[in-house]
């Protein structure tokens, strides 16, 4: 009977001093936000750190929040900005590591802990394929990756992505096309096609960075 409250209603209740509402919000958005950051960064620990920071920023800004845009947009905008920041640093670091010799070279930031990705409830092939997909995703430029992940995984409409990213909707869609095309190529290079997608990918498949 009780209709599920919207994010914005929950946040308003939190503003009124009800911490339970925030708990509901967190529960609702925790996994999507974490997954978004995980896809963007390819690293579980960092994704968790940034997800936590994102929510802390929400807590901090909650009181001043006004219902001008959706809560979800706000949440992902913060996360996205943290992510862009992180990517800049990583790029800097990678550039740095090119000069360094030997063991300083870092592997791509993909969790490769065996078993970690495997969730029996989801089917083994999907679990095995995911690291390959993740690497393909990481080979995309950040601005394409974020559009792809926001639309594909987080389910944010193009228009809202445009607002988050600060470009117009046409640019967002063209980034999305590039992203899909890039992903397709990267997957083909990794030997993944729709036919093989159901099979176990060759072990040690690694993708070069674009």
């Amino acid at each position: 009977m009780a209709q599920e409250r919207t994010d914005e209603e929950l946040l308003a209740a939190y503003q009124q001093g009800d911490p339970r509402s925030f708990e509901d919000l967190l529960l609702r958005h925790r996994a999507p936000l974490f997954t978004f950051l995980l896809r963007m960064l390819g690293n579980r620990e960092r994704a968790e750190d940034l997800a936590q920071e994102t929510f802390l920023r929400i807590v901090k800004g909650a009181q001043a929040w006004e219902h001008r845009a959706r809560f979800q947009t706000w949440l992902f905008t913060i996360a996205r900005n943290l992510c862009v920041d992180q990517s800049r640093r990583d790029r800097f670091r990678r550039a740095d590591s090119l000069d360094a010799e030997g063991p300083g070279d870092e592997p791509p930031m993909v969790d490769s802990v065996p078993g970690q990705e495997i969730d029996p409830s989801r089917g083994a092939e999907s679990a095995l394929l995911r690291p390959v997909l993740q690497r393909a995703l990481l080979s995309l430029p950040t601005e394409q990756r974020e559009v792809f992940v926001l639309r594909e995984q987080a389910g944010v409409p193009f228009r809202e992505i445009a607002e988050m990213v600060g470009v117009n909707e046409n640019t967002v869609k063209s980034r999305m096309r590039y992203a899909l095309e890039g992903l397709r190529k990267a997957l083909a290079a990794a030997g993944v096609s729709e036919e093989t997608a159901a099979e176990e990918p060759a072990p040690g498949v690694r993708l070069g960075r674009a």
Binding site: Y14, Q15, E48
Partner: protein
């Protein structure tokens, strides 16, 4: 529906962003168009292959704890009518608002008893605004409420021994956020350190504890030396000063509290004997007070609250070394350097706060251009830190205070345009 239109809308179709009528139009075009059909098929195939990326993943257990603790603490704060960081004051102190403010002298401080029936007198002093304070402290004085009432008229003014200890519980939002940011810095700096022959960064563990102080590490030794020299000579030379009291030659003891207040990890035993009762303000518990400021400088703008993230004096626990006066212009140079350092380290929140302090100093040095640019940098850094509201406030302040500095202003506007959160989203678009 033209081919071009259809091409344009294939993505919208695939992601279900078209209303039924439009979707039908596109679909009917696609049916008769080989090119669109091919494109649509490719698009769908890629999406099918990428499907595992859509599956939700859960963060590790315990992920919520800190967030919820922060959320609860914040809700309680808001509910009590306070915004910002808590200072808990227990005990009997006459002008209490002032004494609370003494602990951290920036920002409008509201001090009042929360529960009158409690045996101990608890005061929450909120350090205004989201710029927030660097540390939450508890002032503990061992008197009861009753004693306080009796003492209020005469005795209390004399019972002014404070034990200051940091708030250790991690439920403080700002400390949690700082930790999160410090962790990012630490991660980042550690990697940098590993990559370079001469490590530019301190070890991450130390950094997490004292990132602010560490960021200024290169300067500490000199500063400390200079301060010692200053103290022994007892003269007010031109010394770079971190804590931004920037009042003329303030006796170091008077600035005690600021250094203490900023040091989240100050030893629990740190004792501060308060200075003589301030002549300044009323004893009203509601009186906003900024005592250390008030005692040195009568009127400061509300912008004071931003002093919060000024690097902790490296010699925390040794109050006498905290405050050293210099000319604003000179100090600004040092603060700007620190700001730049923090910015390059990716610590935008800290950098923003430093830039704002530098702007104040430039303003006092009558350097309007420098002040305006520092504010513009602050806007950039706040934007980079995702603190858009704050960024907008600073931008407005910049526009208001330095309307003639158009270049700085447009830099600030540019920074915000990039990251400005969506404004009122137009729900309907007129074709």
């Amino acid at each position: 529906m033209t081919h071009a239109e259809s091409q344009d809308l294939l993505l919208d179709l695939a992601y279900g962003e078209l209303d039924a009528q439009r979707a039908a139009e596109v679909a009917s075009h696609v049916e008769g168009c080989a090119e669109c059909r091919k494109e649509k098929a490719a698009l769908e195939e890629t999406r099918r292959m990428a499907a595992p990326l859509r599956e939700l993943e859960e963060p590790s257990p315990g992920f919520d704890d800190r967030i919820l603790a922060a959320a609860r603490a914040q809700a309680q704060l808001e509910h009590d009518g306070n915004v910002g960081q808590v200072i808990e004051v227990t005990g009997s102190v006459r002008p209490l608002g002032l004494e609370a403010a003494r602990v951290d002298a920036h920002g409008p401080v509201k001090a009042r008893p929360t529960r009158r029936d409690r045996p101990r007198w608890v005061v929450r002093a909120a350090l205004g605004g989201s710029a927030a304070a660097a540390a939450a402290l508890a002032l503990v004085v061992g008197n009861t409420m009753e004693a306080r009432r009796n003492a209020e008229k005469a005795k209390a003014a004399r019972s002014e021994e404070y034990a200051i200890r940091p708030q250790t519980a991690p439920q403080s939002l700002d400390s949690a956020l700082r930790d999160a940011e410090a962790k990012r810095d630490a991660d980042h700096l550690e990697t940098l350190r590993m990559k370079t022959a001469q490590p530019p960064a301190p070890p991450p563990a130390a950094l997490e504890k004292e990132k602010v102080a560490q960021l200024r590490a290169p300067e500490h030794k000199t500063l400390k030396k200079a301060r010692t020299k200053y103290a022994s000579e007892g003269s007010g030379g031109e010394l770079p000063k971190i804590a931004l009291g920037d009042a003329p030659a303030l006796p170091p003891e008077n600035d005690v509290t600021r250094g203490q207040a900023r040091a989240p990890n100050a030893p629990a035993s740190a004792e501060v004997a308060s200075a003589a009762p301030s002549a300044a303000g009323s004893g009203s518990a509601q009186a906003p007070g900024r005592v250390a400021e008030a005692s040195t400088e009568s009127a400061k703008s509300a912008r004071d609250e931003r002093v919060d993230a000024v690097p902790a004096a490296p010699t925390r626990g040794r109050p006498a070394e905290v405050g050293v006066a210099v000319s604003p212009g000179f100090a600004a140079g040092g603060v700007e350097a620190s700001a730049q350092q923090a910015r390059h380290a990716g610590n935008y929140a800290l950098a923003a706060s430093l830039y704002r302090n530098a702007a104040d100093l430039r303003q006092r040095a009558k350097d309007v251009g420098g002040a305006a640019w520092n504010l513009a940098h602050a806007v950039e850094c706040l934007s980079a830190a995702g603190q858009f509201d704050e960024a907008r406030r600073v931008r407005d302040e910049l526009a208001r205070t330095y309307p003639s500095e158009t270049t700085a202003l447009s830099a600030a506007r540019r920074a915000l345009r990039e990251v400005d959160p969506p404004s009122a989203a137009p729900v309907q678009e007129n074709p």
